[in-house]
């Protein structure tokens, strides 16, 4: 999962794709994941960091992360 290089993000969860002009908003956990992706963190690290911060078990989060990835793909945010 790799974010397109030109995607702009803010800490408040605002995401902008200058290629298409589309704007997006994410919830706090979505913002955290996008920020980690922006830092090129591998998936294993993302899972570790998120499960450490949020009250969720790993299998649940991995399932939801798959779903989030498909959302990002649909919106053309991933490479």
């Amino acid at each position: 999962m790799k974010l397109k290089k030109n995607i702009a993000t803010s800490e408040e969860g605002f995401i902008f794709n200058p290629g298409t002009g589309d704007s997006f908003s994410a919830n706090p956990i979505g913002t955290d994941i996008i920020s980690l992706l922006k830092d090129n963190k591998p998936l294993e690290t993302i899972v570790e960091i998120i499960c450490d911060k949020y009250d969720v078990d790993q299998s649940q989060f991995i399932k939801d992360l798959d779903d989030f990835e498909s959302q990002l793909k649909d919106y053309g945010i991933l490479e």
Binding site: S23, F24, N27, I77
Partner: protein, 453 residues
């Protein structure tokens, strides 16, 4: 360090210029208790899904409706519409409050007797009454509302043969300015059929005409239609007095008052658009009181309201089985109850609320039931918090018709629970088992041996 409460990650595209002026309604205020009983414990103790009925709300509704009518008109009687919800416990609450019974089939009639309703306080409506049922109703002195000529002549014959004189009314259908016109039940007012039937009954020595009945439709949104119906029944009542010097005991305006549910396709929620009972009461009682009857000859006003008295006393609690995304990116949430249990999902956009606290983020989704059937949709579009497998939901205003029109299809029907006035819980109908389902099945002898080798 305490961990942050989890909700699954979402990203939503921001659109402009697509909202209607009222915005989309978001049901994120959780409903965690029904009459002070936690939803979570109800589902833990009685399984999911679960129908819950508030006895307190039934009594509140009944007392409110009777107060509204009785403060406007001196002689009012409600008769509980069995087909709306014929769970015995529910019927008995209405009967304890003073409601008669209104039934439309033989088994409903027997249920009413079983619930302790005296025969003379049962109104027998509907087009399907067998000779046996008509005789039983006549012997019990019930009020038989005749639907068609075949029934009228059957009843005359049965009464002559058995030397009975049953108390009868006819159901009158009429143009009240609404569409569709319900002319399939009863005798028509405008073409003179109703008057012909009345004449036939009055000329019969074996029937006693005691009232007139109509039921102009269901989920009626126009109080003015009831004013027209009341006017036409009063005209017939007046004409009977003039021509035959006979004072009718009652006029029965049937049911049809809407609940605050939102019909599919409605622009605004039902709670904002549905007329109040006061408006219907004004429309009906103004006509009867203003018609010119002598005070002592004012007919008893019977009402057979169902939906408006029970809908908001019923809840369906359920659980999220799964969430997924559809091919167009929309969220789909699969619940453990479907249209087989929540039959009214076919015509209402039911209010659905989460039963636990969530964060501020919401998403639009489709709510599906668990059936392997494409039509199993609870809500085609609703904005709710980010639901997860195992989350609980509450569907509101499900007390009318679901517990009678529900289907045993693919899944078995769940428990129905009543919360009493002291917030104690009582199962009033046990969830079905495979044994219940197969109790009436028979296997021919040549199929008894399993032949699959």
């Amino acid at each position: 360090m305490e961990k942050v409460r989890y909700e699954r990650p979402i990203i939503q595209k921001m659109n402009t210029g697509l909202m209607n002026k009222f915005g989309t309604r978001t049901e994120y205020e959780p409903v965690t208790h029904i009459e002070s009983v936690p939803v979570k414990s109800l589902l833990n103790d009685y399984g999911s899904p679960l129908f819950v009925i508030s006895e307190k709300q039934i009594r509140r509704n009944y007392q409110n409706a009777t107060r509204i009518f009785k403060t406007r008109y001196p002689k009012v009687q409600f008769a509980w519409s069995y087909k709306t919800n014929y769970m015995n416990a529910v019927c008995r609450v209405f009967h304890q409050e003073g409601s008669w019974a209104e039934v439309v089939s033989g088994f409903e009639y027997d249920k009413a007797l079983g619930n302790g309703v005296p025969g003379n306080k049962i109104i027998f409506n509907g087009p399907d009454k067998t000779d046996e049922q008509l005789l039983a109703a006549a012997r019990n002195n019930s009020l038989i509302h005749i639907d068609h000529y075949d029934e009228l002549y059957s009843l005359i014959r049965l009464s002559e043969e058995n030397k009975l004189k049953p108390r009868v009314a006819i159901r009158v259908n009429m143009d009240t300015g609404i569409y569709p016109k319900w002319d399939r039940f009863g005798f028509n007012f405008e073409n003179g059929q109703a008057w012909n039937a009345i004449t036939r009954i009055i000329n019969s020595e074996n029937l006693e005409l005691v009232g007139l009945h109509c039921h102009i439709g269901t989920f009626m949104l126009a109080p003015s239609a009831y004013a027209i119906a009341a006017t036409k029944l009063c005209e017939l009542t007046w004409k009977i007095k003039e021509k035959y010097n006979k004072v009718l005991q009652y006029i029965d305006l049937g049911g049809g008052f809407p609940s605050a549910n939102t019909l599919k396709g409605a622009y605004l929620p039902g709670s904002d658009t549905v007329p109040s009972i006061d408006q219907f009461a004004d429309a009906i009682t103004d006509v009867i009181l203003g018609f010119g009857f002598k005070h002592e000859e004012l007919p008893l006003l019977i009402l057979e309201s169902g939906r408006v008295l029970i809908d908001d006393a019923g809840y369906l609690l359920g659980t999220v089985l799964a969430t997924k995304r559809l091919s167009d990116g929309r969220r789909a949430t699969i619940l453990d109850f479907g249209v087989n249990s929540l039959f009214t999902a076919f015509w209402y956009d039911h209010k659905v609320t989460p039963a636990q606290a969530f964060g501020d983020h919401t998403e639009e989704m489709v709510l599906y039931g668990p059936l392997c059937m494409n039509i199993d949709i609870i809500r085609e579009s609703i904005t709710l918090p980010l639901l997860e497998k195992g989350n609980h939901l509450v569907v509101h205003k499900v007390g009318a018709y679901n517990m009678t029109q529900w289907m045993q299809f693919i899944t078995l029907r769940p428990n129905i629970l009543m919360i009493d006035l002291e917030n104690k819980t009582h199962v009033i109908r046990k969830s079905e088992t495979l044994q219940d389902l197969q109790a009436n099945e028979l296997i021919p002898s040549h199929l008894k041996e399993n032949t699959l080798k």
